[in-house]
């Protein structure tokens, strides 16, 4: 994953996680060095630990072994919200809040970690254009959105914050082809915009999607992560 002029973002050293109150390991000896420009896919059978790994990377769950570094520093205590401002995890099930699409997009700006930023209609309008949505889409109730639209809103909510890393946990698993393509395009465009400083990791079951989107594939099996041999994939044009 090392590239010329790329900067080290997320570094994972020997991370492990045990099943609560039991001895068996759910994640074991995970090592990753995630740099600017990384486009990584994680594949593997159901129950192999992909989601657990993504949650550990997003620091949503505690780990029992190893460490996770953000730009060379450990992520703990009050550094965690600031890390999550820059490295955003997107769940398979989009979680939207009561109110309109705009209310949902504005929500991050009410948080302390984004206090220095302001909601920008211009940025949102340009993103909406990419997903073929009119400006009036902002006034729709979040409750009335389809699954695909809800996932698009969740992704827009993250991308408008211009994070350095996106961690996408099967974001298109339950979506139709049109929504899937839009989400892929949004992520690809976001990454291309500043490719030496941005990176994403995408959990997917879809081999074609992996082929379209990523440069490197890793395989999760029984809680362990291994590189898939010679899996350099071409990126989308």
């Amino acid at each position: 994953m090392t590239k010329a002029n790329s900067i080290s973002l997320l570094e994972v050293r020997g991370v492990g996680r045990r099943e609560p109150n039991r001895d068996n390991w759910l994640l074991r000896d995970i090592a990753l060095n995630f740099e600017g420009g990384s486009r990584l896919a994680i594949v593997g059978p159901t129950g192999s630990g992909k989601t657990l790994l993504m949650r550990a990377l997003a620091r949503l769950d505690a780990i029992d072994a190893g460490e996770i570094l953000w730009k060379g520093s450990p992520i703990c205590g009050d550094a965690v919200p600031h890390f999550r401002r820059e490295a955003i995890y997107l769940h398979q099930r989009p979680a939207l809040f009561e109110g309109t699409v705009e209310d949902n997009l504005r929500l991050p700006f009410t948080l302390g970690s984004h206090r220095d930023r302001e909601f920008s209609r211009e940025i949102v309008y340009s993103l909406l254009a990419k997903v073929n949505r009119a400006e009036s889409f902002l006034e729709q109730s979040a409750r009335d959105l389809s699954g695909g639209e809800a996932q698009i809103v969740a992704l827009l909510r993250a991308i408008q914050l211009q994070p350095a890393v996106l961690m996408l946990d099967e974001p298109t698993a339950a979506l139709d082809d049109a929504s899937t393509k839009m989400i892929e395009q949004l992520v690809s465009d976001w990454c291309d915009k500043s490719s030496s400083e941005r990176a994403f990791v995408w959990v997917s079951h879809d081999k074609q999607q992996v082929g379209r989107l990523v440069a490197q594939v890793m395989v999760m099996s029984d809680g362990r992560l291994a590189a898939e041999a010679d899996q350099r994939r071409e990126q989308l044009p």
Binding site: P20, A58, R59, L60, D61, A62, C76, G77, D78, V80, P81, H82, R84, R85, I88, Y89, L90, H91, R93, A95, L96, F97, L107, P108, L111, G112, S113, H114, A154, R157, A158, L161
Partner: protein
């Protein structure tokens, strides 16, 4: 002060009324006969037992005896509050005990040492035990409702809580809405009670004082005092337990420890 002393015969005459319930149960095939009998026997035995305990504590008139009774009442209240909740988490009993004891004892101390400062000695069981008992009972209710609502909110809105965290929210920002709703739920019953007190029904303590010959105006003053005491204890207890629970369910790394919450099979009987 004058009141009519009741004999065991009088009590028996009242107990005989339960036959009406029994007849209704038989006539409608409710099969409540055995339960009615058990409930009647428990009512008589439990109240006679507490009567005997209080009789001896009153006659002993020692501070340690009074504090002992209050301590037992507090522990039972703390345990009962958790017992009524629909979901539990490790440490819930400790949080409940801390919240119920701090809220009730602070308010009871204020009542005995500041409002009723002329009582000598301060631990007179005639005042200390019923006052603290009423405060505990209401604080317990608020604690139970507050804890139940908090765990319910967090468990059913887990995705939203985590979505907030993934967007850079602190643990407080992610939990604030649930905390606010839990405290609101815990405080509503006492506020409702204050709105209708004296209109819809006469409170138990006031009724008791009227029966024992206290003038209505004096009984009302006592009731006003107790309403404010229990409102304060309920607020303190609810806020206390909700904040303690929040501290257990979110760690310093701003992670929501949802796996700590487990269902009990209760239906959230906190009322």
């Amino acid at each position: 002060m004058k009141y009519l002393e009741l004999s065991y015969l009088d009590v028996g005459l009242a107990a005989a009324l339960i036959i009406i319930n029994g007849v209704i149960s038989i006539a409608l095939g409710l099969k409540l006969g055995r339960l009615l009998l058990l409930a009647s026997v428990r009512t008589i035995l439990q109240l006679l037992l507490i009567g005997l305990v209080l009789e001896s504590v009153f006659s002993l008139d020692k501070w340690y005896a009074v504090l002992g009774v209050l301590l037992v009442m507090t522990i039972i209240a703390g345990i009962s509050a958790v017992g009524r909740t629909e979901r539990r988490f490790r440490g819930a009993y400790i949080d409940s005990l801390i919240a119920v004891s701090c809220s009730s004892w602070i308010v009871a101390a204020y009542a005995l040492l500041a409002i009723m400062r002329d009582i000598q000695p301060w631990y007179q069981p005639q005042y200390a035990i019923p006052l603290t008992g009423m405060i505990l009972g209401n604080s317990l209710n608020g604690i139970s409702l507050g804890m139940n609502r908090l765990t319910e909110q967090l468990a059913t809105h887990r995705d939203q809580v985590e979505a907030m965290l993934t967007l850079g929210a602190t643990r407080w920002e992610a939990a604030r809405n649930s905390v606010r709703q839990a405290v609101h739920t815990g405080m509503i019953p006492i506020i409702n009670a204050m709105m209708v007190v004296g209109i819809v029904s006469l409170p138990g303590m006031m009724t008791g004082q009227l029966l024992s010959g206290v003038s209505p105006l004096q009984a009302v003053r006592y009731q006003i005092v107790i309403m404010f005491l229990i409102a304060t204890a309920t607020a303190l207890g609810t806020v206390g337990v909700v904040l303690l629970s929040y501290g257990r369910l979110f760690n310093a790394d701003h992670q929501f420890l949802d796996t700590l919450i487990s269902k009990t099979g209760n239906k959230g009987k906190g009322q």
